[in-house]
Symmetry: C2
Subunit: 575 residues, 2 copies
């Protein structure tokens, strides 16, 4: 079907379908969500008010047979950071929406009354339906209900109780091919969906179909592209151990933030490592390899079973395991898996919430290492919306403010993830300068600083880190627009055939003639669009900084501090 | 005694006494605290970390016989707003410190261990003493303990449990001549004192004495000055009904924010008015007139007794009564007085905390009108530091974030007080532009907009409001530097003899020759110093705005919205 813009107005409960404006034609994914948010959302508006908009967009290649192209971008003004925000996830929705001709779905306005709704997206358009049965229920119950009501082929985009409560760490979840969940995790987008009073969006894939301008050229490029992905050694490591392969690597590098960022190494790292996890999965008849969307050839996900061989969680990522593991000193993967499962169901970002738990541990709310305590707080406090649950569910900075803790690892109010910026300076530049608060995925310098991908650069030296972060942030913004999983970047950086094949696929999809420079320019333009939004919202170079304690407290084992001046960091934006 | 700078370093527990640098010589009160904070505190530092400093300074005329000169300024970087902050209060400490030769007391650093301390300020210097007995205790217990340990003549500066917990609404209290409390209320300065682990400062007035350069000239000027104050009709109304005379006046003007800022008039206004309060005080053998410091000739404070004629509270201000009354819809002065007493004891700002209660009522935490509920939350939640207590004790914005409420009346994170900016546009300009977040005392346009003091200006028209607010903010910054109570402004604006007499007193105190222009320049310089600090901390014109809902929701009875553009407001700073 031809691409259209779908619009839902939740103030007057109307929908409309519009032609794609020419200036949005060449955009997809993050490029499109950020462009629409920048064009249509008042930068100073309240993120939970009627003026914010939630924009959902498949990538340029979503819905095509292209390997690893199933990511769905969701954007808005973030209630956590106050900046522009895009988060993407796998699952089945991106491919369905793209095949149904949805270039972007824009949800605007806000119901005046406290009535909840769901949306049903079909080939005939969108219907808005009142919803009461599922209010207060977890994400897994929503998926089950959609299956029962509308059939198992339907895609699902959903929020849990966290999103309903408009907690700043609430995420948006997307059903994967096995009926499990993937999350648009960061920045509190679930709270924006909750502020629109939409519990879930079901997508009926009937008659969903995509047209390729040049199917033969597309197939040839896709073959080259997929081979580059499959042959890449990092892809292979991800396939075997998942992203959690990083626990031992980052611990060895002395950059595994431990005990609320007071050390760079965790004594219990072996117990939570990818290698240990792999053995547990095999022993318990889980699946070490699993795809979050159709067409993924890397398959870094997994099915993690409990001791009795029953399903517990999937998409069990390094950053989640690090946050509950090293940062909260929990050396028990079963506790971590249980917490991961609970957070998927509650619909709350694992990174933000777990780092918040670490700050709460420093405040004495619970003991470091208390994995059962984390699960108890998730079930009894956050899911139920108690005051403590709301403090933690609003993120790490919220906990710091509530309890007067000054060691709070956040940038622009968003929790710093699993790589200590003192010990890996490139990623610190990404945290500081990202248009979306601290987020490793925005410019993953770990590739070059630690993994030797795309060259190598000493993580402890200041030399070259700004350029590295800048190049990766530009490339990432472009990749995030294609619908591609970010993990194609490892192959793209080291295999000469990969990036041209990707560009060939875009050209063969639309019948156009993009060059590599066009793609780089696209990435740079996206970053500048996002930054302009933030500046209009009041952000300055003072916000592009790490918290004070990184400058004051050396971290073991390298005993290094963060030592960039404001002026040095500001050079990031010289492009 | 000759003026000196007293410094206490809480990191290494040392004290020092320094000569006054020449550039600080002509400063006092807010002029001095803001100058010192701007000079010595890193603008981007964590307000609760070791880099912030708490600066305590009597005014230029404090300790002299000048009428109404007993205000004590305390400054720091605010943990509530992130801006520079000064709050001043009456009580006995300013006069004692001035007479002991304390130009300013600068408290810096932070103990590494969780040990609490007190300071004892005497003519021989400052001693730092470990304190354990009073930790967790309320302010009244501190005053009693100081009386018992050191004698009733000692002055006291103290924090309650709120300051110990470093809550953002925690205030600092100062003992008044009757052993009751006055508060440096706004901006969370109590949390800064708590972060330094200082429970209280006792001041021994032995041998305290002030020198006047020209005692005769001083006495003559003081006589003129005091007469201007006493003769002023606003002074007289304040003496009869306290500041609470304003309930009926502001309700009549349609500017009494009611039910969390959803109306401009409160049905129950008569029950909480100054007139009703006066009758209750007389009937219960309280005192309708009472001075918060020696030498006050206005005496707007009062002793408010309970039904049995026992002391309940004093300094029972309009803004506190409005906040618990109209904003929370509590039409029972006994409930409000009980809450006022509890807040004095807990050491928490009545405005911030009560506006926070209003937002919590909108969130459904308790019912509008539930005065007993407010008292219960104060006693059982805030005083005990429960999660709900910390959410509310961190202020209105904290409650909004926790519960996803979008109607949150704050500027720079600080609660908007008792005058709706839609119905009194001048005060809205003050809220928006003040260097310290929403604060009516920073440029009290109510004088001219409502009370007809200093001319009159239609509160509903945009005409002239920026100039009015600017002139008053400049004058206020100067007055806040003298140690004078702000209520001298009513006489200063309407009685030609008042301001020259004030300047004569400063000149007679120091043997100098200030002119009226010098005083205006001082005020302007203070504002610019404060703004420069804020800009260096990352504040921009985007922060000089009122919340979105003031622009979207007309307020009854005038059905007006806030309608200034960012560009219009920015003109405030053209001086």
């Amino acid at each position: 079907m031809a691409d259209r813009i779908y619009r839902v107005n939740m103030t007057d409960l109307t929908t409309s379908i519009e032609d794609v404006p020419s200036e949005w034609m060449g955009l997809g994914g993050r490029g499109l969500t950020s462009t629409i948010v920048a064009a249509e959302v008042e930068p100073t508006c309240h993120p939970l008010g009627p003026k914010n908009k939630l924009v959902i967009a498949p990538g340029l290649l979503s819905g095509t047979p292209a390997a690893n192209s199933g990511r769905l971008s969701i954007g808005a003004k973030s209630p956590l950071t106050g900046t522009i925000k895009e988060a993407n996830a796998g699952g089945t929705a991106a491919q369905m929406l793209a095949k149904l001709g949805c270039k972007a779905l824009i949800i605007e306005g806000q119901p005046k009354d406290d009535i909840w709704y769901s949306l049903h997206f079909t080939k005939d358009g969108i219907t808005i339906n009142e919803e009461s049965e599922l209010i207060g229920k977890g994400n897994f119950a929503v998926v089950d209900a959609v299956h029962q009501r509308m059939g198992e082929t339907n895609g699902v985009i959903t929020i849990g109780p966290a999103g309903e409560m408009r907690l700043s760490a609430a995420n948006i979840s997307v059903k994967d091919p096995d009926g499990k969940l993937r999350s648009n995790g960061r920045g509190g987008l679930g709270a924006v969906m909750g502020s629109k009073r939409i519990k879930f969006i079901a997508i009926d894939p009937t008659d969903a179909k995509i047209e390729l301008a040049d199917p033969e050229k597309f197939a040839a490029a896709n073959k080259t592209f997929a081979k580059a992905l499959v042959d890449n050694p990092i892809s292979q490591a991800l396939a075997q151990y998942g992203t959690n392969v990083l626990v031992n690597i980052i611990n060895e590098a002395g950059a595994l933030p431990t005990r609320n960022f007071t050390s760079g190494q965790f004594e219990g790292h072996e117990a939570i490592s990818g290698e240990t996890m792999h053995d547990m999965i095999v022993e318990r008849s889980g699946k070490p390899r699993h795809n979050c969307h159709k067409g993924c050839v890397i398959q870094c996900s997994q099915i993690f079973n409990d001791k009795n061989g029953n399903y517990k969680t999937s998409g069990f990522e390094y950053e989640s395991i690090w946050a509950m593991g090293a940062d909260c000193c929990v050396d028990n993967l079963d506790h971590i898996a249980e917490a991961d499962h609970l957070m998927d169901d509650i619909g709350i970002d694992t990174i933000e919430t777990s780092v918040a738990m670490g700050v709460a541990m420093e405040a004495g709310v619970l003991e470091f290492g208390d994995g059962e305590g984390i699960c108890r707080i998730l079930k009894e406090e956050i899911a139920k919306g108690t005051p403590l649950g709301r403090i933690i569910g609003n993120g790490a900075a919220s906990v710091g403010r509530a309890f007067g803790v000054t060691r709070v690892p956040v940038v622009k109010n968003q929790a710093i993830p699993a790589y200590d910026p003192r010990a890996v300076k490139g990623i610190g530049i990404t945290y500081a300068t990202s248009t979306q608060g601290a987020d490793h995925t925005m410019g993953y310098t770990i590739a070059t600083n630690i993994l030797g991908v795309g060259g190598s650069l000493d993580p402890l030296s200041k030399e070259g880190q700004i350029e590295l972060s800048r190049n990766l942030q530009i490339a990432t913004a472009a990749i995030d627009s294609t619908g591609m999983c970010l993990f194609i970047a490892f192959a793209a950086l080291d295999d000469e055939s990969c990036l041209p094949a990707l560009i060939d696929m875009i050209n063969a999809r639309f019948g156009i003639n993009l060059t590599g420079d066009d793609v780089t320019n696209l990435g740079a333009t996206i970053l500048k669009t996002e930054r302009a939004f933030n500046q209009a919202a009041g952000f300055t170079s003072k916000d592009d900084q790490l918290p004070e304690f990184f400058m004051e407290e050396p971290i073991a084992p390298h005993n290094v501090v963060w030592d960039y001046t404001e002026e040095e960091i500001a050079k990031f934006w010289d492009f």
